[in-house]
Amino acid sequence: MINLSDILETIRMIQDECLDIRTITMGISLLDCIDSDIDKACKKVYDKITRCAKDLVKVGNEIEKEYGIPIINKRISVTPIAMISAACHESPIKFALTMDKAAEAVGVNLIGGYSALVQKGFAAGDRELIESIPEALRLTSRVCSSVNIGSTKAGINLDACKLMGRIVRESAEATKDSACFGAAKLVVFCNSVDDNPFMAGAYHGVGEPDCIINVGVSGPGVVRSALAKNPGANINEIANIIKTTAYKITRVGQLVGVTASERLGVPFGIVDLSLAPTPQVGDSVAHILEEIGLEQCGAPGTTAALAMLNDAVKKGGVMACSSVGGLSGAFIPVSEDAGMIAAAKSGSLCIEKLEAMTAVCSVGLDMIVVPGDTTADTIAAIIADEAAIGMVNSKTTAVRVIPAIGKDVGEELDWGGLFGCGPVMKVNTMSPSKFINRGGQIPAPLHSLKN
């Protein structure tokens, strides 16, 4: 028989320590839906999404019951819409409405891929899509958008940074009646990945198969509790405990992914090795760092502790699954992590420290609320800074900041649910306008020349 303590450990991880599968995300290619007639294209998109994903939620719920492991989200990612809408020569907003309707029809809470990839310049359809993002996010509730503005191979498109600074602001302004929620569904990337299962940045890359299942796991609470049982451990032992725990968490992700792929008749893609927090008590990455020995997240030592945590999660997870991909690392979204929220409120955690932390973990300046009067150029420059970290370190970085229109430091935005609530954080107000308005392309770094 299976060891009794193993059974009780698994039950404790799920019931008391918030172990869950964060998302099963079905990637769907829309390349065969391209049509110069936008209405025909939208019909093909709707039909394909609802055909491929018709059983996604049902199968997810079945697996959840049978294995007794909560699967929090079932989601869909699609080919970046700019590639599909380019042939239509008109505003792609109809695609956003179609995605929203299809997502509702199959019962998923978010659908990603209202996206454009412009790291080296704008192709047909890209500008139109980007300009339509604020309106698309205002008119839909399930659609998520992302734009890739830089990569290690291509450098950073400074024109796109400038444009996205304005688009992020406009997305917040367009939804100011609903706590600027539009900006919470918009991510600006450097080195974005094709198989990311996590929103808001998920899209289905062009090199991917027609349809695929990717899984994102979670489990900060499990890691923290394993560390709490070993208060006297040295940092090497801590790393080992995290590896062992990450292995167990990821094995469950692999099991769920393989089972879902078999039942849906769709190939299994990757497990994203991640520690994704939620605002729920006991599900915080910041609290792991505090368990390791920091008075509060943001204290000196935070970056080093996070680097060790991120590396140990990967080392433990990589052996546990057949294919690793996506973003794979510890996430530090401020509004979605109870410990981060507390640290930001107390003043221990500032944007500059978060920026340093993003150099050693996944993914970037995520779910950070900034003052409502933050200029488009300042947001553009924050994007450029973050992209530079990604470009030089050959890693994915992203910016998801939410300008709190009409609010300032000391106030907060509250979305509830998984998105949580975030205090408005102070931003350096020195102007970067001259730099941003120079435009052009920051050249790729020397180490991009690997051939």
Binding site: M1, I2, L8, K65
Partner: protein
């Protein structure tokens, strides 16, 4: 194919009887039982063969959960694969 039924809660008369009679009702064959009562807390782990289960496993899980609620216990039905996968290489 096997599932693990775990029952945790305050000890009372007839827990084993009620859980195992529900297993019998849906044709789940009990192959092993481990149970203990520590300071009034009842913990039982039951291994059942679900090869010829008459309802889907997810439904058995729902029914056991409701049964647990009526007795003030937590009952979890989980496919054995989750334990094997998590704890064995």
């Amino acid at each position: 194919m096997k599932a693990v039924i775990s029952v945790i809660g305050k000890d009372a008369v007839g827990i084993l009887a009620k859980v195992s009679s529900m297993c019998a009702e849906y044709n789940a064959n009990v192959t092993e039982v481990t149970q203990s009562v520590l300071q009034d807390v009842f913990a039982m782990v039951m291994l059942v063969d679900i090869t010829s289960l008459s309802i889907p496993l997810s439904e058995l899980s729902d029914r056991m959960t409701s049964l647990g609620k009526t007795m003030g216990l937590s009952i979890y039905v989980m496919h054995e694969d989750i334990f094997n996968t998590m704890h064995h290489i």
